[in-house]
């Protein structure tokens, strides 16, 4: 009897340790899957409000965890505006004034160009992996896929505005939903995957919609038009001089 209990206890403890590992792995794999080792893509962002709507098309490059370049191609008025995230530092180039501006870290959580995405979201920042503790809180099967729900709570000392984030990751590592909860345990905004498609040789969250929970008529939708993963990208791509004068 005692032996059975002991075995059970051991089983339980090892199971929970495995869960911890899995939760963090899930988040990391989802981020890796999202960004690839390197990636290039074209996407369209639609900002929807009760009385107006606006779209723009962007080209983006990413390399590793910490480097991203996004450049607006359309509308013509905004073409050439570009954002570079390099190891936690964000730079913005505006052709109208022909200047590069460093975005202070205090502005990283601010909305990107009036959209519902923050600067951080746009730069596909992956802070969440290291700055949060992850726990697998639910598992369910939807449309033949297993979906894992991971609840991520920021470390005590992490400079993060959210109280917790909840990620729903499919068994092929497509991020299905990301929820942002404030410090008081209220769900503030959420990003949902509306369409998953096979692109660039892997399943990709093709249509993402980000919106605040208490303003359902206001949302921003990001549609991936084209994407390629694991290309050879030169390091020169992610420099300030390329931000200003694109060589592509």
């Amino acid at each position: 009897m005692r032996r059975i209990l002991l075995t059970l206890t051991l089983l339980c403890s090892s199971a929970s340790a495995a869960d911890d590992l899995t939760a963090r792995d899930l988040v990391e794999k989802a981020m890796d899957h999202w960004r690839g080792l390197t990636s290039w893509g074209i996407s369209t962002m639609t900002i929807h409000r009760a009385d107006w709507e606006r779209s723009m098309t962007m080209e983006s490059w990413s390399k590793g965890d910490k480097t991203t370049l996004v450049r607006v191609i359309e509308p013509r008025k905004d073409a050439g505006n570009a954002t570079l995230l390099n190891d936690g530092t964000m730079w913005s180039f505006t052709p109208r004034i022909n200047r590069i501006i460093k975005i202070p870290s205090s502005m990283m959580s601010q909305a990107w160009m009036g959209s519902d995405f923050s600067n951080k979201d746009i730069a596909k920042s992956t802070d969440i992996i290291d700055r949060y503790d992850h726990e697998l809180t639910a598992t369910e099967t939807v449309d033949g896929h297993v979906q894992y729900t991971v609840t991520s709570v920021p470390h005590e000392d992490a400079a993060v505005v959210w109280g917790k984030e909840v990620l729903i990751v499919r068994d092929d590592y497509v991020l299905i939903e990301q929820q942002f909860w404030d410090q008081d345990g209220v769900l503030v905004k959420k990003m949902e995957t509306l369409e998953v498609a096979e692109m660039g040789g892997r399943p990709v969250a093709k249509v993402l919609r980000m919106g605040e929970v208490d303003a359902p008529e206001e949302w921003t939708q990001l549609t991936t038009e084209e994407i390629k993963f694991n290309l050879k990208l030169s390091d020169n791509l992610f420099t300030l001089s390329n931000l200003r004068n694109p060589r592509q």
Binding site: I47, R49, D51, W52, R54, V72, P75, K77, D78, N81, S92, T94, R96, I97, R99, I101, K102, I103, P104, S106, M107, Q110, M113, G114
Partner: protein, 419 residues
């Protein structure tokens, strides 16, 4: 018959009054001492209350004149959530109509955007306001607080006026360039390069750190406003004109716009004043209760020492209630002396400081924090003068109730035997 009775009563109360007055001066030193306590507290209360009311008026007017004005016309919902798109279309023509309907008021249009302002070295988020250089000085004291350089002049120039703290944070001075980066009214990227022409120092940390002003025309072009703006600001001479102005402007507001008065624009202001007022009344309460106890003490003593006398009088047929009335009358007369002299002296003191102003060491720093000038001018009004003394008067009468009530239980025989 009834005439006779009334006449009788009148003579009687006149007699009581005379009696009360004489009784008071049987111990003139004691009366003066007690009345002195009242006078002192009345003068002190008048001084404090008029100082307080004066500083509230100043606080309100300074806060309103600094930036918000007395009334603003805005798009529905803009005050709660300052979104770029919650704007007033064709704001300049509406502003002209507001100006026509309120010829005595100062009226100016504004547009606002949150943007990143950067110098060569640093970047900060800031609230940018597009203002009409010709009209803004009428609704806001900020243009007058320029400590370096000048205020905006040309409505279309690429110029900016920033606060002293922002200038220090950005490490810029007059003539330096600042870049602006934000999003325009149509959602597109808005950016501009402007020259710092003026630096203001308002003493209000929030404004000095995060508010910058640009000419309205330049703001329109940079943020693709297409004639839209966010607020029409109305500044009046004093708070009493707010209600009539609101009703004048109501037809102009229509269905899409809202009129906001100063309280809606500065929600903390009234609460701060109420909180300060109630904490001050706690202190005044202590003072008033002390005075009331001194009256209680005096009147109780004067009743006790006259026990024999009262006994004799009541044995002669005077009803105890009349005796009680007599004591109350004595107190009322004494309190009236305190009220009259206290009011007169208090009025003199308040009047003096009302013209000369009042300042004390260390006040300058405190004043800067609360957006007050370094001199306070107490307000002289019926309210500020009468509020304290009337409350003191009331409490003194209340204090006399106990000594007077003792007389109702007076037994003539025992009283006459009392030492």
């Amino acid at each position: 018959m009834s005439d006779d009775l009334q006449n009788h009563g009148a003579v009687f109360s006149l007699l009581s009054l005379q009696l009360a007055w004489r009784n008071l001066w049987r111990h003139s030193r004691r009366t003066w001492l007690t009345a002195g306590a009242m006078i002192f507290s009345n003068v002190l209360l008048i001084f404090m209350i008029s100082l307080q009311l004066g500083s509230y008026d100043m606080m309100i007017n300074n806060t309103l004149r600094a930036f918000s004005g007395h009334i603003q016309l805005q798009a529905e919902g803009y005050n709660e959530n300052q979104r770029m798109r919650r704007s007033i279309p064709s704001i300049l023509s509406l502003t002209r109509r507001v100006r026509e309907s309120l010829p005595d008021a100062a009226v100016s249009a504004r547009a606002a955007a949150f943007a990143l302002v950067s110098s060569e070295e640093r970047s900060f988020g800031a609230q940018l306001i597009g203002v009409q250089p010709a009209w803004e000085p009428g609704v806001s004291t900020l243009p007058g607080l320029i400590s370096e350089g000048r205020y905006l002049e040309d409505p279309d120039a690429a110029e900016i006026v920033i606060g002293a703290v922002m200038a220090r944070n950005l490490k810029v001075g007059l003539g330096d360039e600042i870049t602006l980066l934000g999003s325009g009214w149509d959602g597109s990227f808005a950016a501009g390069v402007v020259t710092v022409v003026g630096i203001y120092r308002s003493g209000m940390a929030d404004l000095d750190r995060s508010l910058a002003q640009l000419p309205f025309g330049y703001f329109q072009a940079t943020f693709f406003m297409q004639g839209h703006g966010h607020a029409i600001v109305v500044a009046l001479d004093d708070l009493d004109q707010v209600a009539p102005a609101l009703s004048t402007l109501q037809p102009l507001a229509g269905d899409d716009l809202v009129l906001l008065d100063w309280d809606a624009l500065n929600p903390g202001l009234k609460q701060a004043i109420q909180a300060d007022m109630s904490s001050a009344w706690l202190m005044y309460g202590v003072l008033i209760v002390l005075v009331a106890f001194s009256v209680l003490n005096t009147q109780l003593m004067s009743v006790m020492e006259r026990t024999r006398e009262f006994g004799v009088v009541s044995a002669l047929g005077v009803r105890p209630s009349r005796l009680a009335m007599l004591v109350l009358l004595e107190t009322a007369l004494m309190a009236l002396i305190g009220l009259a002299i206290g009011l007169f002296l208090g009025w003199l003191v308040a009047l003096y400081f009302n013209t000369a102003g009042l300042s004390y060491p260390g006040m300058e720093e405190a004043a800067a924090r609360f957006n007050l000038p370094d001199r306070i001018y107490p307000s002289v009004s019926p309210l500020s003068l009468l509020l304290g003394p009337v409350v003191v008067f009331g409490f003194c009468l209340l204090a006399a109730i106990y000594p007077a009530a003792r007389l109702l239980r007076l037994r003539p025989v025992e009283a006459m035997r009392a030492a």
